[in-house]
Point group: C2
Chain length 343, copies 2
């Protein structure tokens, strides 16, 4: 059933060279011939043997993934969602993965090994930090890569896909300010991660434009698990002058925050407003919260798919994608935001 190039060429009365070229889009093939070839491919169900292609081209047709296995990161539900997007796209192009679990302290060695093994054409990078050392390192190794997120400081000319975190949280904060809120709190992700830093900056900027400042006591950092959302919110509510609005870096954190608010007997949307960043996790939809959540939205899975597309495009050399993309998150207003109480 499964034919190979040679047989296909025989069937068509052509040489392997011509068939190969027809399939790979080379110009020196008659349009009519190419059409015949493609037709035959359809009829025979021919699929090129990847192992042979790898050997002939020297390409690996696979991308490397360094899975962080540090506590507080692998706890992250978000990783799986991103991976799903990445894989979804990769599988379409018949790409493999080399998964490399690695503790943070020997990530560098892991990347080097990965690059040296010749088993991957490119690698993917995430969980960016300020002045992230991995970027110069990967440039030095000179293995193609795309990062999800952006570093802060350090070289700027590297390929990334990020969402505009500053903008998103600026927008969200501004909405709250317009609604009359003055005491605004932030339940953010780990403080060493670049996206957390940017989100905080967005909040700060909006507040300052309004003549206010971010109270450091109202800005918590933590792992993105709802337990921490709960604790943070609880502590906020114990304050003499609790915030009237809170921003959460994830719907997961919001889940905990909402619980704390409910427990305090407050009403979301009137006593206190809440806005969360929504990564579009399929099992945690903001519209399904008891009070539907106002969110800044950007699909993590879509980001994964897009990064796979760019990574693969770079490898097979087809299409040229922008090297740097900054997606803007949508601000979607639902019932969890309302005017500040007593206004």
């Amino acid at each position: 059933m499964a034919v190979n190039l040679k047989q296909l060429a025989e069937i068509l009365g052509l040489s392997q060279t011509t068939v190969s070229r027809a399939l790979n889009g080379y110009p020196e093939v008659n349009a009519e011939t190419r059409k015949r070839v493609l037709q035959a491919v359809r009829e025979t169900g021919y699929r090129p043997n990847r192992a042979a292609q790898r050997l002939a081209t020297g390409k690996a047709y696979s991308i490397g993934l360094v899975m962080p296995i540090a506590p507080g990161i692998d706890s992250d539900i978000h990783f799986g969602e991103f991976l799903a997007g990445l894989a979804e796209e990769a599988v379409k192009h018949d790409f493999h993965f080399v998964l490399n679990p690695s503790a943070p302290d020997d990530e560098e060695a892991t990347f080097r090994r990965l690059a040296a093994s010749g088993n991957v054409d490119a690698v993917f990078l995430a969980y960016m930090r300020a002045n992230d050392p991995r970027i110069p390192m990967l440039k030095a190794i000179s293995i193609p890569f795309v990062v999800h997120g952006r570093s802060i400081g350090g070289p700027r000319d590297y390929p990334f896909l990020d969402i505009d975190n500053t903008q998103a949280f600026y927008d969200a904060t501004k909405l709250l300010l317009q609604l009359g809120h003055q005491r605004i709190a932030l339940i953010n992700g780990p403080e060493y991660l670049a996206f957390s830093i940017r989100r905080k900056k967005g909040v700060t900027r909006a507040l300052e434009e309004w003549g206010l400042g971010l109270d450091e006591e109202l800005a918590h950092h933590s792992v993105m698990a709802d337990e921490y959302g709960y604790r943070s919110m609880q502590r906020f509510l114990e304050r003499p002058a609790p915030p009237t609005a809170v921003l959460c870096s994830s719907t997961v954190l919001a889940l905990g925050a909402v619980r704390a608010i409910n427990r305090a007997g407050l009403v979301i949307g009137s006593d206190i407003s809440i806005i969360a960043h929504d990564d579009v996790l399929p099992m945690l939809k903001p519209e399904n919260f008891s009070v539907p959540l106002t969110t800044t939205r950007s699909s993590l899975r879509a980001a994964g798919a897009r990064i796979a597309t760019r990574l693969i495009g770079g490898i097979v050399g087809r299409g040229d994608y922008p090297q740097q993309e900054l997606w803007r998150a949508e601000l979607i207003v639902r019932a969890s935001t309302g005017p500040a109480p007593g206004r």
Copy 2:
């Protein structure tokens, strides 16, 4: 720097055949010669080219993974942990992964495509259910596989690695009974999953041996997220005669349950006892709970690594591993269990 077989053979003054055989453990090679070859490998850093091996042997040297992307499953922190174990072992043997996200309804098609593509030598299966249709299906496709867990009903002769869930929960329940507890509750995983069914059976059996029965009202099923642990526990505590002990299918659920107990002002280990199953998630250690948790323990990561070992062993044909393994979980007593109140 990187030498290939040909060059290595030249250096040694041997043929490629002999070197290849020396490396692959064939018998027709002089022990002395083999030693020389291995020495040269060490000196030159020779590593066989996987693409060439794939082409020559027809093996893919990679294993297929169908990632479930249904809500309630990808929410599962446990998946990442398992994957880390799998990958950790695979990377040692230079194996790749083909990750295939798939909605439950076209899993079958996904597996077929995977098998037909020739891109994987074997696949891995998890989230077993009763009479799981995927087992007969994979047998029909006749692609090697190992499942994590076991089905209930259906064929019995397939390769698996499972922990003895019935035994674990039997043991745990028995301990509680011995401590004088009579009203024992269970916060279990999704009811359609085989491990949940078995755990429940273990509880039931122990109770029956003690002349008691499991009150269905005291057995909840849910996704393994702490939110649900909290809710279940809360409902238990609202009952006229609340349980004096509770079993949780995961430390994640226990996290929520503990929160509910604390909130009710009860003291863990005296007012109420709690035992959880511990998958050894690095970010959720039972010994770090405010009251250290009594657990049934079995490392998920270790299971992943073991399954990788068996999968890979089956492919390269070296070593022969048992086809069916049932690991026994350890029952580790900490401070969260104590005698039933008023006894």
